[in-house]
Structure formats: structure tokens, C-alpha cells
Symmetry: C2
Subunit: 239 residues, 2 copies
DNA sequence: TTGACAAAGATTGTTAACAATCGTGAACTT
DNA sequence: AAGTTCACGATTGTTAACAATCTTTGTCAA
């Protein structure tokens, strides 16, 4: 009956210091990234209070932060709902990513630092393992996190923060508009992008990433929007 | 003794709905953009309460939002201080802008819509007028807002939001590291960028914007950081 | 004079009770 | 049976008092 969120997570891209309620934000963020919390799911204060064992104040602060990141919608006097992007927003998200990510990867391929490359290599291994285990939620989350890790590899805090928001939004969009099977990135595209970076081939890296984004976008049915689950169904589905 | 903030403002790039405390956020945001609130200035809850005539709850919500936008630092048990970027952050901000803004303007020059062009033209007129009147705070704010308006001209909500944050941070940086006289953008560079866009010349627009950013960055003394005003000096200076 | 220590004051963090709003369902009318 | 109204319960928004923390100031001793 409670949302299933394990407290283990090693590396996250939070910009503020890790206080108590940032942990709540992280958990809900992760649940959204793994598509365990469907768009439009209502997050009532009372339930979150008992789920996390904290007072209402902490929950409200967390909700405000999540709202400022576009992860939830805060409706006055009605409560908090997991964000439910529409077609227009989806287009904006992909347009923003097409603007930012290709030059980002290009720059990265020009002068990658070794530790970032190691992290990315490790990430690919994680993806492979998750795919082998058919761990759906892991695959979905890692699929998005690859892109945030690309941003983090630049070492630029602002670029990381931006990408994190865009990737989160993308995750919601894929959950809403995605065809059932290919709800994650195609299998080896991430790996190929990394190889291009390792080979210090900016043109190739940029090109691969560009088409990768297009593939994701093309995998969406922008007209037949999945019916957003309501509260009950979500809870049952995530136990 | 109170912070001087007039309530008039027409167009802002808020992503959330305009509730009550978004107004507080806007006022403080504007004060920072105009460099009337210097970095490191302490914003005590009590003073903000009486300044805006609202309860502590509203103020705290506003402070949390401002903190999530990087405009202020929220220190536990110590209060809120206007953000005080260091050298590393400054470099990150400019690197992020160099990554995003040139392709943004390029894209804009490829297919600008008329209403955006009209808005930008009008903006240049405002800048000219402010310069003629020697209205320092106006000049500073408009100088930054030109760039957020460029982003808004794309019609993309996310790009606008990102640029808004980066421009705000830039304003803080210019206030901290800027040499005294050229604390705003060089006079006619904005105008020339707009002209290139109007001429549908992507290469020229991108190039001009690129060098414009470099000019701003070169106008900074990254070693001799201006001494951040403390609370008292700021209050006296802004009456 | 300088340093450490302690108490007082001021500021922020938290809690719990209260107020306001919204959604639901029963009762009533047509 | 369909629709409307009203009242109740549930949820969110607000306030004020309380607790905890930090800063300042004054005192005392070296």
C-alpha cells in the first residue's frame, strides 16, 4: 500500500546540499524516473507523511521543490499530481535536447577526462547487466541516467542540472506516449555513442547522439496518448 | 530601510502559475537582476515579512524557490543570503552559455517569427532610452533581459527557463567580478545581433553572439573579486 | 589588552491546532 | 430516472506558539 522506494542511491545530481527533505525529493524523483509513479498520480500529503515518516512541513517543502523542477504539478487547494506533459511540452523537451545535447557531446568528445570515461564505461556495463536480468525499472532508469551522466561528464554544474530536468521530463513523456515495448532507448546506441567519445571523434559522437534522440522521439505515438493511471491503479501496480 | 521594489513588471518568464508568493520571488529576482541586492546580502525572514506584508510561511516558500533557482543560498539555521558565485561557478556559467546560446541564436535566425522580432526590436528601443536617461538599474536589467528574450523568442518553455537562470547568475557574476564602468553589455552589440537575426543570417548571428559573450567574460577581473557588501552597507545603499 | 567562557537576545526550524476549500454522496425536487 | 442542492468528510492552506540553533555581548581570568 505504500510506494516502494528503497533508500539506496549512490550518485545523484542534486545542486543543493543534502538535507533531510532532499531525500524525499530524491525518492520521488527516482520513482518517476523508473516509471513506477505514473503521470497524474495524486501524491497526497498525508500518505507521503506516513510513507516517509516525517511531518507535513518536510513533505510540503519537498513537493514545492519537485514542483519547481517540473516533476509534479501543484494545484491550489487540490494537491500534488505527478506531471502529465502534453504534446506541446513533449515537443519543447525534444527541441531543447536537440539544441543542447549534440554540442554537449561534441565538446565532450573533443577532450574527455579519464575518470568520466570510466564512469560512463561502467554505466554501459550496468545497462547490459540490467538488460540481461530483464530488470525493467532498472533499464528504464539507467536509460535516462546515461544522458545525465553525459552531462555530468562535462563537469559543469549548470549543464548537469538542465539535462537532469530534461531527462526527467523525457521519462514522463516516454511513459505517456511510448509504444509499449520500446519504452527505453534502443539497445546499443548508448554504447556506440560512448565509443565515439572514447575515439575522440566529435563529428561521429554528435551525429550518433542526434539520431539517437530522433529515434526516441520517433518511437512515440504523439496522437494516441496512453491513458494516465489514476491513483489506485498506480498504488496496486507498484506494491 | 526597506528594500526598494516597485510592484510593476509586465512580462516575466515564470514557469509556475502566478500565486501570491511568486510575486515575492519576482521582486527579489528583479532586485538581484538590477544589482540592487548585492551578493551575500542577508535576507532575514522577519524583514521580508514586514517588507512584503505577508506571513512567515509565504516568505519561507519564496526563499525555498529562490534557492532552487540558485538566486540565494539557504544556510541551515543561519538564514538566506544572496548567492555569491565563485570563480569556478562563473566559468561554468559562461561555459554553459557558450554551449547553448550560439546554437539558440542560430536557430532563431533561421526562422524567426514576426512577433518575436517585434518584441526584440522594442527591447532595443528600451535599452536605448534607458541609456539616454542614464538609468543605471534599468540598463543593467535590460542588458540581461535581452538574452532571456532571445530564449523566449524560440517559444520553448524549457530553453527560456534555462536561460533565465543562467542570465540571473551572470548578473550576479558581473556584479562581483565586473570592472566598475563596463558592468553592462557593450552598447550596440545587442542591436547588431538582432539585425543579423532580422537579416536571416544564422552564421553572422551566431558569430556575433559568441563574441558578445566573450566580451562580457573578458570584461571581468576574475582575480580581483569585488568585496561583497555586507548587510548594513547594502541597506544604506539601496534606500 | 587579549582570550575564553557564559548568558542573553535574536533568528531559524518545527509542531500542532485551526481555517478554508474541495470532492462526494445522500436527500430532495421535478 | 435525472438533475440539483446541501451537508458532511477529507484534504490542503494558514497561523501562532514552541523548540532549537546561532550570534552577540558582557564578564572574568590570565
Amino acid at each position: 500500500m505504500s510506494i516502494n522506494l528503497q533508500p539506496n542511491s549512490q550518485d545523484e545530481t542534486t545542486i543543493s546540499s543534502d538535507t533531510d527533505e532532499d531525500l524525499i525529493v530524491e525518492r520521488i524523483y527516482k520513482a518517476v524516473m523508473e516509471q513506477r509513479l505514473a503521470p497524474n498520480t495524486k501524491l497526497s500529503e498525508a500518505r507521503l507523511c506516513e510513507t516517509f515518516g516525517v511531518g507535513r512541513m518536510r513533505v510540503r517543502r519537498a513537493l514545492l521543490l519537485l514542483s519547481s523542477q517540473g516533476i509534479i504539478d501543484l494545484q491550489s487547494n487540490r494537491g500534488a499530481y505527478v506531471a502529465c506533459p502534453d504534446k506541446a511540452e513533449a515537443n519543447d523537451v525534444f527541441a531543447a535536447r536537440m539544441l543542447i545535447e549534440p554540442p554537449l557531446v561534441r565538446q565532450l568528445a573533443q577532450d574527455p577526462n579519464e575518470v568520466s570515461l570510466a564512469l560512463l564505461t561502467n554505466h554501459i556495463a550496468l545497462e547490459d547487466a540490467a538488460r540481461k536480468d530483464n530488470a525493467r525499472t532498472e533499464i528504464i532508469r539507467l536509460s535516462g541516467e546515461f544522458h545525465t551522466k553525459l552531462a555530468k561528464a562535462t563537469g559543469n554544474k549548470f549543464i548537469s542540472k538542465m539535462m537532469r530536468e530534461l531527462v526527467t521530463r523525457t521519462s514522463l513523456i516516454v511513459g505517456l506516449f511510448g509504444s509499449s515495448e520500446n519504452s527505453s532507448c534502443p539497445d546499443d546506441e548508448h554504447s556506440n555513442i560512448l565509443k565515439a567519445i572514447q575515439a575522440r571523434d566529435p563529428d561521429q559522437a554528435e551525429k550518433l547522439l542526434s539520431s539517437h534522440l530522433k529515434h526516441i522521439q520517433n518511437g512515440l505515438d504523439m496522437d494516441v496518448r496512453q491513458q494516465p493511471q489514476d491513483d489506485l491503479a498506480t498504488i496496486l501496480g507498484s506494491v
